[in-house]
């Protein structure tokens, strides 16, 4: 439970600030000039802070919509992402956010409408092209939905642009407003997946794979397009057996017609990020396993990456057509 909310003076009276504040019981409220004075402070300890993150309510002034990093995306010609929130309520050990931000506090930008305006401008500026907008690059799209109501606010916008895709990337089983709303064909709910045995070790504080599959089943039954994201692929002695088991379970439970797309990507970090994360968790088994530096990135190496990708595609081909399977290798 959030015990402290830092609020930028400029949004103290914003209706969304009031609404978010009301979701917490007696939080300590501290006013700040700009969110960066809390979030970007030197000497912060991400790992300790992660035990009790504060909430920061702020206004975003620019860079509402950004081109997705090279290698991140599906079939669209142009891919964009936006982040109404920084950081995540889960604590996945491989997550790049712990190496990207010095703070584990959650930042929510309350001026959603400015995001929507900029998204609309981008759609109009790229008229006629296949576009996908990704939510959940710097946070989990749905995990904080009961606090922010962001998904509920943005869905009508994309309903009015049926040829432009929106992806919510999530591990959450908090299914509102999707469960009670009518499905929107161009709004994809994409779940990050890995074998349960690995998720138990790595996806800390996140719903189990079993619960995620239950959630997928429910949303698929409602008619929402489903994305499956095997990203990152985690290597282990018995990875083939583990991933095969996971794929069998998904194929058994989720009708193939519900699948919009499947993407996969290797475990890979820019060198500096890898160093920062391993310093935070030097005792972590994940980082004691052999990874090597290749062209400024630390990864399992081309052979392992290729073997895993090929295995996944081979096993998915009987489930969905290959055109729905994408490899995601982000070059940040």
């Amino acid at each position: 439970m959030i015990d402290t909310i830092f609020i930028e003076r400029g949004v103290v009276n914003h209706s969304r600030t009031q609404s978010i504040k009301s979701k917490f019981k007696n939080p300590t409220i501290i006013e700040v000039d700009r969110y960066q004075e809390v979030f970007n402070k030197r000497s912060q300890n991400f790992r300790i802070q992660k035990q009790n993150p504060a909430l920061i309510l702020a206004e975003k002034h620019d860079n509402f919509v950004l081109p997705a990093p090279s290698g991140f995306g599906l079939a669209s010609t142009r891919n964009f992402y936006f982040s109404h929130m920084y950081n995540c309520i889960y604590d996945c050990r491989y997550c790049f956010l712990q190496g990207m931000y010095s703070s584990a506090n959650y930042v929510i930008f309350v001026n959603f409408e400015d995001f929507f305006d900029e998204i609309e401008k981008s759609i109009k500026a790229n008229g006629g092209q296949d576009l996908t907008f990704f939510s959940g690059y710097d946070c989990d799209s749905l995990a904080f939905e009961n606090i922010t109501g962001f998904a509920e606010s943005i869905l009508p916008l994309f309903k009015s642009y049926p040829k432009v895709d929106l992806e919510f990337r999530t591990k959450s089983v908090q299914l509102e407003p999707l469960k009670s709303g009518l499905p929107i064909a161009n709004c994809i709910v994409a779940f990050s997946m890995m074998p349960e045995e690995l998720a138990k070790r790595l996806d800390k504080k996140a719903p189990s794979i079993k619960r995620r599959i239950n959630a997928i089943e429910k949303l698929a039954a409602r008619g929402w397009p489903i994305g499956l994201r095997f990203d990152p692929l985690i290597y282990s002695k018995d990875w083939k057996q583990l991933y095969k088991g996971l794929l069998m379970e998904i194929m058994h439970r989720v009708p193939r017609e519900a699948i919009h797309s499947i993407s996969h990507g290797p475990l890979r970090y820019p060198k500096k990020m890898y160093q920062d994360i391993t310093k935070l968790y030097p005792e972590e088994l994940l980082f004691s396993l052999p990874m090597s530096e290749n062209n400024g990135y630390v990864d399992y190496g081309v052979d392992v990456e290729k073997e895993m990708a090929e295995f996944l595609i081979k096993n998915l081909k009987n489930y969905v057509e290959e055109a729905k399977i994408f490899q995601c290798v982000v070059q940040t």
């Binding site: 402290t4 030197r42 300790i48 009790n52 045995e197 030097p282 005792e283 980082f287 004691s288 052999p290």
Partner: protein, 287 residues
């Protein structure tokens, strides 16, 4: 800064909590509670310690500059490790705060220098959280929920250079408010205000020690690494490589001795190669 380090043996001492307190009357209850001994020597600031319990305390005098200087002096004198917790404890003025109530400062500002800090892991289940304004002179508080003190900002500015921000704390007991004038404050009262909060401070210290231990586990160089470093000549780069690689090796082989890796090695490079070989041949066994 002049010190007589020969009088203070720091070789086997590992203070885990470093207290910076402005007044002797504020320090007395802590000195007594944790049985701290005065350190003799030409100390610029009086220092008290109990190495068994892991506490060091320095009496800084009033004001931000004194607090900053004393913090730096204590770090230097005690050889505090980067996982030490730093605590600034003292009295503070308030407008609406109840006299005698303990607060944790989670936003500390210095209006003169336009500095702002957000120190410490927050312990909202044990203590109320507040904003502290550090001023150069005593001044009545005109805003609810804000405390006035004279040291916190200077203390935090420097303590966060010796430990991480989450292990630097400012705890204040309200000594005066809109109904009780600051002129009534005397040594006896200060002593009693702090003394009455010892139980609450113990509860806080319990949690602080846990965080400090976690940070120690993260940062401490294992003894076995020190042994290897003594046996071979390692450049700075190779030393850092050794520490990182041996940590990984130890995670994978918790029951094996590092001597296996060094017994046939002739140089530092051999040691690192042996570790690399052991790690490369791993089978990624997770389950």
């Amino acid at each position: 800064m002049v010190s007589d380090r020969s009088k203070v043996d720091v070789s086997n001492v590992e203070p885990t909590v470093c207290w910076v307190v402005a007044l002797k009357s504020e320090a007395k209850p802590i000195i007594s509670h944790f049985k701290l001994d005065h350190q003799s020597g030409n100390n610029i600031f009086p220092i008290y310690r109990n190495d068994k319990l892991g506490h060091s305390l320095i009496v800084s005098g009033v004001g931000q500059i004194n607090a900053a200087a004393a913090t730096t002096y204590l770090a230097s004198e005690s050889g505090s490790p980067p996982w030490a917790a730093w605590i600034n404890l003292g009295i503070a003025g308030s407008m609406d705060g109840e006299i005698g109530k303990l607060y944790q400062g989670i936003k500390v500002t210095n209006p003169t220098k336009e500095k702002v800090f957000f120190p410490g892991y927050r312990f909202s289940k044990i203590v109320s959280l507040a904003e502290i304004q550090t001023l150069d002179y005593p001044k009545p508080v005109k805003k609810n929920g804000v405390l006035h003190d004279m040291e916190a900002s200077g203390f935090i500015d420097f303590a966060t250079r010796f430990s991480c921000n989450e292990l630097v704390f400012s705890f204040k007991v309200v000594s005066d408010n809109s109904e009780q004038d600051m002129k009534l404050i005397d040594k006896m009262m200060v002593n009693s205000l702090i003394g009455n909060r010892l139980q609450q401070l113990d509860a806080l210290l319990d949690k602080i020690f846990t965080l400090s231990k976690l940070e120690k586990q993260r940062l401490q160089i294992p003894d076995e690494v020190e042994e290897v470093l003594k046996q071979f000549h390692f450049s700075v780069t190779r030393r850092n490589q050794l520490i990182q690689k041996l940590r990984k090796w130890k995670i994978q082989f918790p029951n094996r001795s590092i001597s296996d890796l060094v017994k046939e090695a002739k140089t530092a490079a051999d040691v690192i190669r042996n570790i690399d070989d052991a790690l490369t041949n791993l089978k990624f066994d997770w389950t």
